[in-house]
């Protein structure tokens, strides 16, 4: 393989992404200062719905908050210890354990005491989601709690799709009644409709950003994508995030047009799977020394991105209801669109089907022109790791080289940095890629 040197440059909207994230955590903490409300729930929650309560209602989504804790290894260690000391098992979801630890220590990762939510707005896609806020309610005073059961299976394969959507829509309608009761506020449907439109804009734009990474050289690397996709896990239904993703999409289109690479020496393209070990993102930089770039993953593309089959057979951003001319004038219409749109997102679909997940990974391997796949056997997340060994077999059967490494997204005691680097070395050697600095 020849040495290459593509042009590269930093992302212009990087500072804006950091600012949005910082403001999100501050807004949540300070909400009460101006009479606003705070709610807590998972990153999978339908965040558009509480937005009908007014412009001063701020969420704290638990998984990205826990990932922020995990990134700070010293704080994470104390959080995990506090949770374990309280008697919770070490093999539970490590995001959940970090979150509980932050609550138990009464320390907010962004400074000050842990800001107590006014209500909990959750949905249950994974068993840990079901337990997460039950424990929060055990530890805190009785916080009003509503959750939506979304375990309806893969939407794409369903013949009875409308029943699945209706099951969720019915719970959403009841959820709005709950929100009014819990907060004493009157619900505003116009705000809901705007929030659903934001959600569709944001998630479609993120899918396009991910699809642009099919280009060689890739305009983005996955380590950078982590810092960007997180905004969608924080508040995809907010206007700020939707506007930001459209701005980002335009910038990435421009990078593609000008041939700007994320990794100037790109010679090898891989994807990963599941959340990374957050305290050790430097392994991505280690791979880049070989010219190996992770162009994303089903996780980074599909947790937030909304996708569809394009007429030419490729995978691309789902056409928004606004572009498709789908009416969205009533509460019921908005909720139907929100449920259908959300269930169509790839991560929601493969959650209950390793078979579908393998198909999606193989599709990415082909369309994103990969040389291999690096699977994170993530002991911290039962939800996304379930079936990963099946995915490995399917990828190998299809002729793709696969490397696995063990770790934990939120508990660094289960990650061995040197051993993982050694595996990367072996994997690169097996792909015929020479060690950095060595002659070819």
């Amino acid at each position: 393989m020849a040495n290459v040197a593509y042009p590269t440059e930093p992302l212009k909207c990087w500072a804006r992404a950091k600012e949005l994230r910082q403001r999100y955590y501050e807004d949540y903490a300070k909400a009460h200062d101006t009479g606003g409300l705070r709610w807590a729930g998972g990153a999978w929650s339908f965040d558009a719905i509480p937005m009908g309560l007014g412009p001063d209602v701020y969420p704290l989504t638990s998984e990205p908050y826990a990932a922020s804790i995990a990134f700070n290894r010293e704080f994470s260690k104390r959080c995990l210890e506090a949770t374990e000391a309280k008697g919770y098992a070490r093999d539970l979801c490590s995001y959940m354990r970090n979150y509980w630890g932050s609550l138990l220590l009464n320390e907010y990762a962004f400074g000050g005491p842990f800001p107590r939510p006014d209500f909990i707005w959750q949905d249950h896609i994974c068993c840990s989601h079901a337990k997460w806020y039950q424990v929060v309610r055990d530890l805190e005073d009785d916080i009003p709690y509503y959750c939506i059961d979304v375990a309806v299976g893969p939407y794409e394969e369903a013949r009875d799709r409308q029943h699945r959507v209706q099951y969720i829509v019915d719970q959403m309608h009841q959820g709005i009644e709950f929100l009014e009761r819990a907060t004493g506020r009157t619900y505003d449907d116009a705000r809901l409709i705007e929030a659903v439109k934001n959600d569709c804009r944001a998630t479609s734009a993120w899918a396009e950003v991910s699809a642009l990474n099919k280009t060689i050289p890739a305009p983005l690397d996955e380590k950078t994508m982590y810092a960007l996709y997180v905004l969608g896990t924080l508040h995809k239904a907010s206007r700020d995030v939707a506007d930001f993703y459209e701005e980002l999409r335009d910038e990435v289109r421009d990078r593609v047009a000008r041939g700007i690479a994320a990794v100037p020496n790109e010679i090898c393209r891989v994807i990963t799977d599941t959340q990374p070990p957050w305290g050790f993102l430097k392994i991505f930089r280690y791979m880049e020394k070989y010219g190996c770039v992770s162009v994303g993953s089903l996780y980074t593309f599909g947790l937030i991105g909304a996708w569809e089959d394009k007429p030419n057979g490729t995978w691309g951003p789902r056409t928004t209801p606004m572009a498709a001319g789908t009416p969205m004038e009533t509460r019921d219409q908005a909720l139907h669109i929100l449920a259908d749109w959300t269930l169509s997102r790839p991560e929601w679909q493969h959650f209950y089907s390793p078979h579908l997940k393998s198909q999606l990974m193989l599709r990415i391997a082909k369309e994103w022109q990969l040389q291999g796949v690096m699977l994170h056997y993530n002991r911290g997340c039962e939800g996304l790791s379930l079936g990963i060994a099946e995915n490995r077999l399917a990828l190998i059967d299809a002729g793709l080289p696969v490397m696995v490494f063990e770790g934990n997204m939120g508990d660094d005691s289960e990650f061995d940095e040197d051993a993982t680097k050694n595996r990367i070395d072996s994997f690169m050697e097996s792909l015929g890629i020479k060690r950095p600095g060595e002659e070819l």
């Binding site: 696969v402 051993a419 097996s430």
Partner: protein
């Protein structure tokens, strides 16, 4: 051309010298805490056998966990690549290589050219490495080199429930208290480690010709257990602990200068 392959293992440093593709000497030293000094000692040992000075070596490659501490500035390659290259050089038809060292076990699927197709590594669990046998030999109060032949005298299989080295040690102690014959316990120990290693090898797929390398391949009890677990005969090359060093020396020879 003379090339040197150095395998900086967790317990032993092994060196192989090649002249035009033929092995001319081997050297070995306990790794200890001073890896660099041990490597120099093993290299000096091999050079002494070959009657050469260090200047005679055209190129060196190092593998093993401590390869960054190998003397000189050798070409580096991982244990996986080195094991596959070395094993295929000795056994041309080898397609599955199982390498069990003091602290790690690995299974490799390879092509006829020694190119790695897939691999699995156990670097975390002591129950899949030589350290496990050593710990169990201590619990049995038997010299480690005797535990293999001892296990072949066993007349019955006793399943060991513990998959973890720590718990297995207490299980061995309990079996001793229950007056279970030592030979049967020794076999149970080897069956447990073989079970671990073979299940890892199955992840990469077992191709008919399986070659077992690494220091633990000298243990006849372990070889027997692996064969029973796999249900097929395996090949153990002479000097199995030097195979990765051989692979490194071959790699050095193949690289353009």
């Amino acid at each position: 051309m003379v090339t040197a392959g150095i395998d900086m293992g967790a317990k032993w440093v092994k060196v192989v010298l090649l002249r035009d593709g033929e092995v001319i000497a081997r050297g070995k030293a306990l790794t200890g805490f001073e890896q660099k000094a041990s490597a120099a000692k093993a290299l000096a040992d091999a050079l002494g056998q070959a009657g050469l000075s260090a200047d005679a070596i055209d190129r060196t490659a190092a593998t093993g966990a401590g390869r960054k501490d190998a003397p000189g500035s050798p070409i580096e390659l991982t244990e996986v690549t080195a094991a596959a290259l070395g094993a295929v050089q000795i056994e041309r038809s080898a397609r599955t290589v199982i390498d069990v060292g003091a602290e790690e076990g690995r299974a490799i699927k390879t092509t006829d050219a020694g190119k790695v197709v897939d691999f699995a590594v156990n670097e975390k669990c002591a129950a899949g490495s030589g350290a496990f046998t050593e710990a169990m030999a201590r619990a049995l109060e038997t010299p480690v080199e005797e535990i293999g032949p001892l296990s072949l005298q066993s007349s019955q299989a006793i399943p060991m429930n513990a998959q973890c080295a720590v718990f297995a040690e207490s299980e061995v102690v309990s079996l001793l208290h229950a007056r279970t014959p030592k030979a049967d316990i020794a076999r149970a120990v080897h069956d447990a480690i073989a079970n671990r290693i073979v299940s890892m090898a199955r992840k990469v797929g077992i191709n008919e010709h399986v070659v077992l390398i690494g220091g633990v391949a000298r243990n006849v009890g372990f070889v027997d257990a692996v064969e029973r677990e796999l249900g097929l005969k395996i090949t153990v090359p002479p000097d199995p602990e030097f195979v990765s060093a051989l692979g490194a020396a071959l790699h050095a020879a193949e690289r353009r200068g």
